[in-house]
């Protein structure tokens, strides 16, 4: 599904440049649930941004579902993001003046799905994250966990190939974190490929595979026995 070969990325900070990714090689099969771990500054977010086509690597190859991702125009990148990727952010990034339903329907709008179908589908996904009754509520009327579930529903609504989650539990308490992870695991159970960036050990162990990054290189890549989040959820 995802294939990365010898990826390099550096940022220019004034006169000196900061080498963030120093040759990353990584593959993820369909249906995998991978945790990318590392301390801050290890390059994990940069990697995720490149995977999410929000940023571009200086060198190296990146293939997503057989499509080489290289030298994309902004428009092309936007279309690929819409088609291939679902994003979940640490700070949810819901549009605050749109209701939960409208937020979920937004990627479908950019897919040019007709309005009626869009709303039906959005409602369906809200139901899957257990927030059907909250469809008309604004993000400000939802709790943190609910917001993240809406964000996950939004990421899933476009039926992406890969779900990219950047610290999805970073702004949540542990109980809510587990609820969110439970949801992510369930989505993964259905065969979706998911990448989770996190620095929390317990969250990482709820994935099937952990990739450790340090100073821009992968230092460890291991399969783990998945801890089911449902064990912690009543």
């Amino acid at each position: 599904m995802i294939e990365i070969k010898d990826l390099h990325k550096s940022y220019k900070m004034g006169s000196n440049s900061l080498h963030v990714l120093k040759g990353i090689n990584f593959t993820a099969e369909e249906g995998e649930l991978v945790a990318i771990m590392g301390s801050s500054g290890s390059g994990k977010s940069t990697l995720l941004n490149i995977l999410g086509m929000l940023d571009e690597a200086d060198s190296g190859e990146y293939t997503l579902d057989g499509v080489p991702i290289k030298n994309l125009s902004e428009t092309k990148a936007a279309q690929y993001r819409n088609k291939f990727l679902g994003f979940v952010f640490q700070s949810f990034n819901l549009i605050n003046y749109k209701s939960a339903l409208e937020n979920v329907a937004l990627p479908l709008y950019y897919q040019k799905v007709p309005r009626k179908e869009r709303q039906e589908k959005a409602l369906q996904y809200l139901e899957r994250v257990g927030l059907k009754e909250w469809a008309t509520h604004l993000p400000s009327e939802l709790s943190g966990g609910q917001k993240q579930r809406v964000a996950i529903a939004r990421a899933m609504a476009a039926e992406p190939k890969v779900l990219l989650a950047d610290e999805p539990t970073g702004a949540l308490d542990s109980t809510t974190s587990y609820e969110v992870m439970d949801l992510i695991q369930k989505i993964n159970d259905e065969g979706n490929t998911i990448l989770v960036v996190t620095h929390e050990e317990d969250i990482a162990h709820m994935c099937k595979r952990i990739v450790h990054l340090r100073d821009g290189v992968i230092v460890e890549d291991k399969k783990v026995k998945q801890v089911r989040a449902s064990e912690y959820v009543q």
């Binding site: 941004n49 999410g52 929000l54 940023d55 902004e74 428009t75 936007a78 279309q79 993001r81 819409n82 088609k83 994003f87 952010f89 640490q90 700070s91 990034n93 819901l94 549009i95 605050n96 003046y97 749109k98 409208e102 937004l106 990627p107 709008y109 950019y110 897919q111 309005r115 939004r154 476009a158």
Partner: protein
Amino acid sequence: MRLLFDRNTWQEIFGSIRKNKIRTIITIIGVLWGIFVYIAMSGAAKGMDNGFEKSFETVAMNSLFAWAQSTSKPYSGYKTGRQLQLKLGDATVLQNRIPELQYIAPRNVKGTFGSAPASITRGSKSGNYPVYGDFPVFTKIATKKIYDGGRFVNDDDIEQARKVCIIGERTQKEMFEEDEDPIGGYIRIDGIYFQVVGVHKFVQNAPFDSDSDIYIPFTTYRRLYNSGENVGWFSMAAFDDADVIQVEEDVKSVLKNIHRVDPTDERAFGTFNLGEVFSKIMGFSKGLTFISLIVGIATILAGIIGIGAILLISVKERTKELGVRRALGATPGEVRTLIILECLFLTLIAGIMGIILGALTLSIVNNATQGIDFPYTNPTVPIPLVMGAFALMLILGILIGLIPAQRAVSIRPIDALREE
């Protein structure tokens, strides 16, 4: 183009506008004020224009007057300071020598210009009113509105020197009972019985006009006051396409020639030219229209620039939202269109509201000034001007929208989404 007619696009725009209420209201007020000022000012200018035109409609625009004064230069054996007197025959000479003259009406008056007014009596009622000796042609130069059932002096009156008169509204009020029909009634002018054949509605054509003026046939006047061939002044009208200033000069030089006055004597004859006055006033109101156009457009411009500035700030505020949209698959083109259409939509809504408000104000002012002696009639803004303002707003709305739109597009989604 497809985006323009897509219901979804508009839903996005309405959503964004509805949810940013304060921003929307502030921006709308900016342009609304601009277009309101534009409509109200140019409408008022047009109203003034119409008002002036209406004030002058009772008199020929190209009319002029000539009267005799005294010479200021000796000439051809005559000494300086000779009092000049216009004669009835002058009219024929003027008419013959100046082809641009369309009408010429010799007039005489008793009661203005220092002479004592005639004493009018009817039974026990009496009063003093000015009496004019007139030809029928006078009505071609200055419209005299005669009330129903009446008439002005006609050719037979002149020929037979009939003792008929046209009285003013005030004279009617003071000489006749309220329910009495003055037409056919008799009044005595300086002791002589005259039959009333008409009542004229008072219209101020000249500064000395009043609502008590009595008009009698020129020939009757001549007999009554023994004025012989003497004429008080000439009222004249030039043809529409004639240069009134030139005609005025011609009239003066012809009169000087007839009365043997030094051609360089500037004081011998007085003339007054309504066309010149009229064109000055019209020039004033044209200037007013022009200024209101400039001010209005400038205000609209300021309003639209305000919209641009506020949208620019709003784009900065919405950096994150726009970043999210980009991450979810909005292309730069879609983001740009969203911002431009928002700008355009705000501009147009504000514009339409401004036009309606401006038109409302104009009609209120119009109603308020109705019946007041103020040159203000039918204040309208010509459709092409409104359309022009609208087109201007449309174009400027798009152009100004381009600035925040470009700003929105230049934000990289990764920067927008980066945690603070």
